[in-house]
Structure formats: structure tokens, C-alpha cells
Symmetry: C2
Subunit: 236 residues, 2 copies
Amino acid sequence: ELRDVICSLLLPHNQELTGKHIVITAGPTREAIDPVRYLSNHSSGKMGFALAAAAQAMGAQVTLIAGPVNIATPTGVKRIDVVSAEQMHTAAMQAVENADVFIGCAAVADYRPEQVADSKIKKSNDGMQITLVRNPDILADVAALAKAPFTIGFAAETNDVAHYAQDKLARKKLNMIAANDVSDTSIGFNSEDNAMLLFWRDTNNTVQQQALARASKLTIAQQILQQAAKLLSNNQ
Amino acid sequence: ELRDVICSLLLPHNQELTGKHIVITAGPTREAIDPVRYLSNHSSGKMGFALAAAAQAMGAQVTLIAGPVNIATPTGVKRIDVVSAEQMHTAAMQAVENADVFIGCAAVADYRPEQVADSKIKKSNDGMQITLVRNPDILADVAALAKAPFTIGFAAETNDVAHYAQDKLARKKLNMIAANDVSDTSIGFNSEDNAMLLFWRDTNNTVQQQALARASKLTIAQQILQQAAKLLSNNQ
């Protein structure tokens, strides 16, 4: 999008993240049922790509692990394309080995079909049951590493946004979480704007929060990264 | 795509379909599980949009009923956007009331979740079962109308292509069916090219066939429509 290119050029290149390697996941994943059908979700990848562009402008070395989306790779960003949650998990665990920050912005499918048929399943007149099994939890697995990077999660909720976000922050041992209400179509999936609630644990392990008012996804990305950069420098 | 625009301008505007109203469905459908998750398939919509452009160039009045795809509407074509199979069924049954030809090119989801959750289903550590029920069969319902238009179906198969296509032609009482092997990625979903097997019933109700060699989807669309125009004029 031209708007994003211009915004990206106008971003303050303040180098707050110089020397940092940031790994970002973006977009949905697709979980195959057979060669034709799949399970997915409405993530457009725009928020994750905005984070990649903003982090690069702030001086970071950025690795972007992207599910199936139709967005151009931000300049200077290393992109790895994946389809399924398992592929994204493998790529992420490998990429974070030398990372300072991990941002799990992808809407990773929580479940995948237990069986993937080799050929197209023929329909019958009856109903059908799909048995789903849990996918690996990329965010929790990264945060649980002995040498875990500073880990930022996202929560896309349709209700009780603040409650679910704080629960996820604690349960997955994240450093920060950015939550939004995707039931509001003006800021949700595939929209250009976003508005978020940011939660993080301060040096006393107390949860702090900041509301990021509706703005372009690139502006929101910048605000998230500025808060992360502040916490990273406090931690050093 | 620039290539398609140029090809479309270069199409022989031979007016073989002047005065005909053609209704075409294109793309996948999405079947909601909850506000975030859905079931879908790999249809890109390119073949259906190529058919719409080619039919318009041959003089037809074209109504294009499109599932969620990212393709520009061909010039002069009336487009109706839908998401689910049920929405596509409603739009198609209404549009074919005055149609001469119906082309069911969409990859309509055969099944939809029995229940659609109002809010995002929270994951648990356990597996999950999704119960699916059959969607209405748009192609069969159109072909079964008392005043059915000339009805063309598509079959995207991964194996036994000719067998399944002829079975579908007979079972759904279609006038013509175009089948392709989507396990071949050079001609399948999201590729620019296609290669098809065309089957139709002649005036003696004998099944005839024609192989359409690999070519751009626009060329294949033109060949399908030329064969249809021939049969339409024989029927009159």
C-alpha cells in the first residue's frame, strides 16, 4: 500500500532497536483437511507486517515468519513463508535462537485436523465429523526457553478483551501482550486501523497497562515497539 | 493483472453470446466456525473471473457471484459478493431466474459447521470435534429447475478426474462439465494456467468429450464458452 510506504519513510528512524534481532510471526495459518479444503481464520497479516516495517525503521534486524497472506515484504526484512502452524512453529523455534525479541502476532490455528487426507474427500449426503487436535503453542514454547527472548504476544478477542489478555500474559509467561477487540470491524481483521490495550509486567512483576487509541496499524506498531524498547533497556 | 486486461482486449469480440444472460459463480466460500475461524478451500476465483471476462467479450450480459477473492471485477460485468455457500445459493437461485446459461465455477464448500459460535471459541488442552452438515447443492438445484438454464459445472479433482466428472454430469443432470486435476500445481488453484477435460451430452444424449490443452485461464474460458455457444444454438 502506498500509504504504508510513505508512512514507513516518515517513521522516525530513531534506532532505538539497533543491534536487536527481532523475530515476528504474522498472518493466519492454514490447516489442511485434504488437498483442497482447509481450516483458517480472518487474520490479514497487516499488523505483523506493520510491526516488521516499524522494527526495521527503528534499526532492528527483522525476521518475519508469514502465513499465507498477500502483502509485499517490507524493505530490509528477511521473510520466511509458511502455511501451517507446525511449519510456523519449526521456523520460529529456529529463528529465535539468536533473537532478542519475539513477537507472536500471527493468528496461529489452535487446532488442526487429526487426519489429513491424501486425496480430496468425496462428499456424501450425510454429515461429517472432523476431529481436531491441538497445535503446538509457539508463543508459550518461545517464552519457556531457557534463554527466552523478550516475548510479546497478541490476543484477538471478541469479548472480555482485558480479562483474556491478562490471563494470557500470566499463563504463557510473556513480557508483554497487545490485545484488541476483533468484533469491532473498524479495527479488526483486514482493516487498516487498530486500537489496542497493552499490558506488561514491570521490574516489580506488577502488571502495567496502556491504551493505544485508534490509529493506523503502523502507528500502533511503533507504539508497541517503543514500549518494548523501553522495557528492554530497563532489563539491561 | 495486466496480462488479463491485455488478453481481454485481444479476445475476439465475436458476439456469439449476444442477447444471452450468463450467471457465473467463482471463488471459494467460507463457512464460519466462530467470528474468527472458518473452513474454506484453495480456489482463487481466477477461472470464474476469466469466464466472466470472456463471456462479456462474446456479447453476453454477465452476472458474477463471487466468494471472498482479491480480483478486480472484469469491465461490464455485474458482480455480487458473497461469503458462505448459503449466501451463494440464495444469490444464484435469484440470478438464474432470467438466465440462459449458469456456470457453477465456484468451489462451494460441501459442508458447513452445524453450529456457528457467536463469540470466539476458547481453546482447551483437549481435542475438539466439529460437526459438519451438508450445504445446499447450487449446481444440482439450478439444473433441476423447471426452466433450467444451460448448466455448466466444474469438477476439481485430485484423482480419477474423468470418472468423477462424468458421474457428476449425469448425477446432477448438467449440460456440460469442465474437469481438471488440481493435484497438478502448474494448472491448479491459484495458477495462471489451466488444462481441462470437457464433457457434454449431445442431442442424442451421448456423452462427448474434448481435451483443452494447457493454456491461460482466459483461453480455456473462451474455449468452454465457444463449445457452450455451439450447443446452445443446436438446442434452438
